[in-house]
């Protein structure tokens, strides 16, 4: 009986979303009187024993270079073996891109009930019930898992990342990985930018900005705040911005600590992708824009006047140029 947390990484770096999953796993283990362990497939540059500071006693590692690239079938096979050999009965993933690829496969392979998109620790007093977002963030569901082995994927930015003291024991696991089905041909990464789903602050622009040439101030505000940039659906559809920046019901759903919407009216489909943000700021010329009803702070005014002044104020506050 233990909690096993899948540790996701890319380019040698452990993803922040997986650190959140480790904290969640440690808290879950503490509340159920068991221990939390980690499992990492592949290799990273970081010393894995440091992950003990998140309350993790043991880190299992299958240190094969072929596992540095995600192949859903290979990963689910290796993880199923790891679950068996560690005796884990709860497996935690981040509900990030890798989690979405692997967790359902592992669920089917182990016939272990899966709740994806958890936002809280499970209620274990009477059964095992996990709260998750449904209806694209417009509601929550409490979902009960009936199987002995349980799998949870944790929404990003839903559980606080807290580091304490401690060193984890790193244990090599000898599990043979089959040859991957998938061959990577090329990868493009927008360097120097914060990935949208991992960002704590997101600055987003809509049709109110009138054209792609006006995105300079959105990018500048994002830069001074250390934020990622996003956009509404009409903006992505008009090719003003790449479609991987589109947040909303049919784009990416995000839950940053701060979401700043500039020139976005706030259609219900857009809100569905951002309503889990902790603080929402809306800047719009139209006082009737529906987004103000979902916002925590707002300015009714011309974005072209207001945003540069906000950038100045942030620069002053942070003492940056």
């Amino acid at each position: 009986m233990s909690v096993l947390v899948f540790i996701d990484h890319s380019a040698g770096q452990i993803k922040k979303s997986s650190l959140e999953a480790l904290c969640y796993g440690a808290a879950l283990a503490a509340s159920t009187g068991t221990t939390a362990e980690g499992i990492l497939l592949g290799t990273v540059s970081q010393d894995l024993s440091e992950l003990g500071c998140y309350g993790i006693g043991k880190i299992h590692q299958v240190a094969s270079d072929t596992l540095n690239n995600l192949d859903a079938r290979v990963f689910s096979t290796v993880l199923a073996e790891a679950v068996r050999s560690t005796g884990a009965n709860i497996i935690v993933f981040s509900n990030n891109l890798s989690g979405k690829a692997i967790a359902p496969r592992l669920s089917a392979r182990l016939k272990a009930g899966l709740v994806s998109g958890a936002i809280d620790l499970p209620q274990v007093a009477n059964g095992f019930t996990v709260r998750k977002t449904v209806f694209s963030g417009k509601a929550f569901a409490n979902v009960s898992i009936h199987t002995e082995i349980k799998i949870i994927t944790l929404n990003q930015n839903a559980f606080p990342l807290t580091a304490g003291q401690g060193t984890a024991q790193v244990i090599p696991l000898d599990i043979k990985a089959a040859a991957p089905d998938v061959k990577t041909v090329s990868a493009t990464q927008s360097s120097g930018q914060v990935p949208l789903t991992e960002a704590e602050i997101v600055v987003s622009g809509g049709r109110g900005l009138k054209g792609p040439e006006n995105w300079g101030m959105v990018e500048e505000l994002a830069r001074v705040l250390g934020a990622a940039t996003a956009c509404s659906r009409p903006v992505a559809d008009a090719h003003w911005r790449p479609h991987n920046e589109h947040v909303g019901q049919t784009g990416i759903a995000i839950a940053p600590n701060l979401y700043i919407a500039i020139g976005i009216s706030g259609a219900i489909q857009h809100l569905a992708g951002v309503n889990r943000s902790k603080v929402i700021v809306v800047i719009n010329q139209d006082p009737e824009a529906p987004f103000f009803k979902a916002a925590d702070y707002g300015i009714v005014g011309d974005a072209f006047v207001v945003v540069p002044k906000i950038i100045e104020a942030v620069k002053q506050l942070k003492g940056v140029a």
Partner: protein, 247 residues
């Protein structure tokens, strides 16, 4: 070449979300039902494009649902597809649904199975992965582009902060998202043709239910917006820093 597209019936994106019977059931009365947008705009339309390129392609749709799903299935057939299969069952458990789809897929021996990346009601994002595992096939999730040359697929998928292009041989399961295709509106010929295309109803296979929804909740209402004057945007920055403490 045989393609299977998994479709699901979901409430319209603007539907009012409310619950009844002590918050255990979704209020379906007055709700307009649509094809789950990820299934329709991306999975189905891309499959139709592949069939247009190679007319010998056989395109089937599968939906796990009760007879009230039929109008949505007909709507999907109006966009394209040679035949639809409805598995006559209703479940909120993704493993149960995946087991039904896997049974249909085994029967039909498909080369390619497309799903949407998730449904907009339960947001499980699980069906594609589960079906691929049950069939022991490769799986590419969150695909934004899909090209086919013979039996070799070149698929671009989302990675954190970018995209990755991968090659993998058929048979294959792919979950589809924005970028795969553009939304289409069915034309009159499609709508008329959809009526004559077969909609087969099959009974479900025996499968376990691994999870169940105990109850629903609506999020607490927002306290209301605090408006800052457009003449003093610096005040907004002060509030975000000192009151909301977000930076």
């Amino acid at each position: 070449m045989k393609i299977l597209v998994c479709i699901s019936k979901t409430p319209d994106t603007t539907a009012k979300i409310a619950f009844k019977d002590n918050n255990t059931k979704f209020v379906a009365e007055g709700v307009q039902w649509i094809i789950n947008p990820y299934d329709e705009w991306y999975a189905l339309v891309r499959a139709i494009e592949l069939k247009e390129k190679d007319p010998a392609t056989i395109l089937h749709l599968v939906c796990v649902g009760l007879p009230d799903a039929d109008p949505v299935i007909r709507k999907a057939l109006a966009l394209g597809g040679d035949e639809a299969i409805r598995v006559n069952a209703d479940s909120q458990d993704s493993y149960y649904i995946a087991a039904q789809i896997a049974a249909v897929a085994r029967e039909g021996n498909y080369d390619l199975i497309f799903t949407g990346k998730e449904t907009i009601d339960y947001n499980g994002a699980s069906i594609g992965g589960m079906v691929s595992e049950l069939l022991d096939l490769p799986f590419i999730s969150l695909a934004t582009k899909f090209e086919l040359a013979g039996s070799l697929a070149t698929v671009t998928r989302e990675i954190e902060g970018g995209e990755q292009t991968e090659q993998v041989g058929l048979p294959l399961v792919v979950s589809c998202q924005k970028g795969m295709a553009e939304q289409r509106i069915p034309n009159m010929k499609g709508i008329m043709g959809a009526r004559s295309r077969p909609l087969k109803v099959v009974e479900p296979v025996t499968a376990d239910t691994l999870t169940s929804v105990v109850s629903f909740e609506l999020p607490p209402a927002k306290a209301g917006v605090k408006l800052v004057s457009a003449d003093n945007p610096a005040e907004l920055v002060r509030l975000l820093h000192e009151e909301a403490k977000v930076f």
